[in-house]
């Protein structure tokens, strides 16, 4: 029997209670900083919305992003999103494999029609060695991406690898990894609206919230300059950090286990990248709202920002320089002394010559 295409009917058949559904809508509205009344209209829109077909592509990645969303100890509100979409292809989760799986993807794309489905991309796309570093079913990741997104309504890049290249992109980038946006800009794949849900991994509620926004409004949320949804990436970790007052007071932990760190003092001195990292960790938190890295005592690594892996040491304060060989300053001093001595010597010679001449 065919599954109902309207979300309301589908949820009813799945036995999802009205209470759980409203709880999800409230949580999403709150995560997107919408007023509480928005949850009602969100619920109304979602009920009558079509279950959107989603193709989830995994390329050069560690599966941490999919794990982040799916491997909770118990079903969470975030995982409800899987009931709201029709996840027609996800090679890690789906039962089918090989040609059957590929056929399922092709059929889903055909069934949804042009502009009728979303593509979620997890992982960067390597161009090195003709794309041989990441291939499946005889096709390179680049070919798979290009073919799949050709008729997609939008592409949601889940994780920093697909958004900005991530760890595979880190210097020296041995596989010549690229982000989806870079490939579009280079004309290697068709250009489509892109939403970058960055993070290593991204926060589950942010993935779910972005999808919920699209399902509710039928359009992508407002994005920042890096194509990240503003409701979740509008403020820095530092802006919303509970340790921020200590930054203002000039109280900084000197070591991860000192009295200051235990008293909640700012971790700036220990290399926290919170001031330059835009993400919702400090507000939505992780593991069902338990905590976030800074709360657990470690500085933010800046994992939702482009090039976070190459931004200098994780444990060096932001205000510290990223200097190469310190010996160059010694060489500069020696060169300065030589030039100064040479200038003085030339001056003495000129004086002596002037004296001789007259």
């Amino acid at each position: 029997m065919d599954e109902p295409q309207r979300l309301g009917d589908f949820l009813l058949r799945r036995g999802i209670s009205r209470r759980a559904f409203m709880k999800f809508c409230t949580a999403m509205a709150s995560a997107m900083a919408m007023p509480p009344s928005f949850a009602k209209s969100m619920a109304k829109n979602l009920e009558s919305a079509k279950r959107e077909s989603v193709i989830y592509l995994s390329f050069q990645e560690c599966t941490g992003c999919a794990e982040s969303l799916t491997r909770s100890h118990s079903p969470t509100l975030e995982t409800l999103i899987f009931d709201f979409i029709s996840l027609d292809y996800q090679d890690t989760l789906m039962a089918a494999a090989g040609r059957a799986a590929e056929r399922a993807k092709e059929e889903a794309i055909k069934r949804a029609g042009p502009g009728g489905y979303l593509v979620v991309v997890d992982g960067s796309v390597p161009l090195g060695a003709g794309g041989a570093y990441s291939a499946s079913g005889g096709k390179t990741s680049l070919q798979i991406l290009g073919d799949t997104i050709e008729n997609a309504a939008a592409v949601i890049c889940v994780g920093t690898c697909s958004s900005f290249g991530g760890i595979p992109y880190a210097d020296p980038n041995p596989t010549d990894a690229r982000s989806v946006s870079q490939l579009m800009e280079a004309g290697k794949v068709p250009s489509k609206p892109v939403i970058n849900v960055s993070g290593c991994p991204p926060i589950p509620v942010v993935i779910a919230g972005t999808l919920a926004h699209y399902l509710t409004f039928g359009r992508i949320p407002e994005l920042d300059h890096l194509n990240r949804p503003k409701p979740f990436f509008g403020e820095t970790i530092h802006d919303r950090c509970y340790r921020r007052p200590y930054y203002e007071e000039g109280k900084f932990a000197q070591a991860f286990d000192d009295e200051g760190a235990r008293s909640g003092w700012c971790l700036y001195e220990l290399g926290c990248k919170g001031p330059i990292t835009y993400n919702a960790c400090a507000t939505t938190k992780w593991n069902g709202g338990t905590s976030f890295p800074v709360e657990s005592g470690h500085g933010c690594l800046g994992c939702s920002e482009p090039g976070f892996w190459d931004g200098g040491s994780f444990y060096k304060p932001l205000s510290a320089g990223m200097l190469g060989d310190p010996g160059t300053l010694g060489a500069a001093a020696a060169a300065g002394a030589a030039v100064g001595a040479g200038a003085a010597w030339a001056h003495r010679r000129r004086n002596a010559r002037a004296k001789e001449e007259g």
Binding site: F252, I276, G311, G312, G321, A332, A337, G340, A344
Partner: protein
């Protein structure tokens, strides 16, 4: 490479190389210049070294005779030099910058104290500029070096404030711009009047030594 990575990496490296090379060049070049011996007999009183030390210290405050003319310059000069010192050496992110560069570290001040010092410093710098522009003689004596040196001094203070307040742009952009303005200061320091940071000791000392030889009060 992002703008912040550029500012924290190659731009900082180049500006520090130019700063060190330029300062050592000018100091060595000046100190090795031929010194014309004074063949006259030294007057009784202070030795040359004593005269040098006396003048270096005595010039820290004005002579009574000239006080009414130069008091504003002295007071404002102290306000912005001390304020600048509080900002540069009291703000913890700055101490971390210096520690990373030299290994030296000391306790910092609370941010409010640094913000207060920074505001007063900016106000003093503006007052000094207004006086330079409105004082007939001072205006005629001023060169582009004076204005540019003022500009590269106030710029890091203004960008520093914007960075601390996260105002006007993304924090990483503000931090990068702040670092770049500091690097502009490093690049200019050896070649303009800001070199007085190193030369004031030598110029005062030399004047004092010469004056002591002649028996002149400085």
């Amino acid at each position: 490479m992002t703008l912040l990575e550029f500012a924290r990496g190659p731009a900082l490296q180049v500006s520090l190389i130019v700063l060190v090379l330029g300062v050592v060049w000018r100091l060595v070049g000046l100190l090795l210049l031929p010194y014309k011996k004074d063949l006259s007999e030294a007057r009784p009183g202070r030795s040359a070294l004593g005269g040098a030390a006396y003048t270096i210290v005595r010039r820290l405050w004005p002579h009574r005779e000239f006080q009414h003319r130069v008091l504003f310059t002295y007071v404002m000069g102290y306000v912005f030099h001390l304020g600048l010192a509080v900002v540069v050496f009291g703000f913890i992110p700055h101490i971390l910058f210096i520690r990373n560069l030299t290994g030296l570290s000391w306790p910092g001040l609370p941010n409010w104290a640094v913000y207060l010092a920074g505001s007063v410093t900016i106000a003093a710098l503006v007052a000094i500029l207004v006086r330079r522009l409105t004082h007939d003689v001072l205006r005629l004596l001023s060169t582009p070096d004076d204005y540019f040196s003022w500009f590269v001094t106030i710029l890091p203070l203004v960008t520093g404030f914007l960075t601390a307040a996260h105002f006007g742009a993304l924090y990483q952009t503000l931090l990068a711009v702040h670092l770049l303005t500091v690097e502009l200061l490093f690049l200019w320091l050896p070649f303009g009047k800001l070199m007085h940071a190193f030369l004031f000791v030598f110029s005062r000392g030399f004047t004092g030594a010469r004056a002591a030889h002649k028996g002149v009060q400085t």
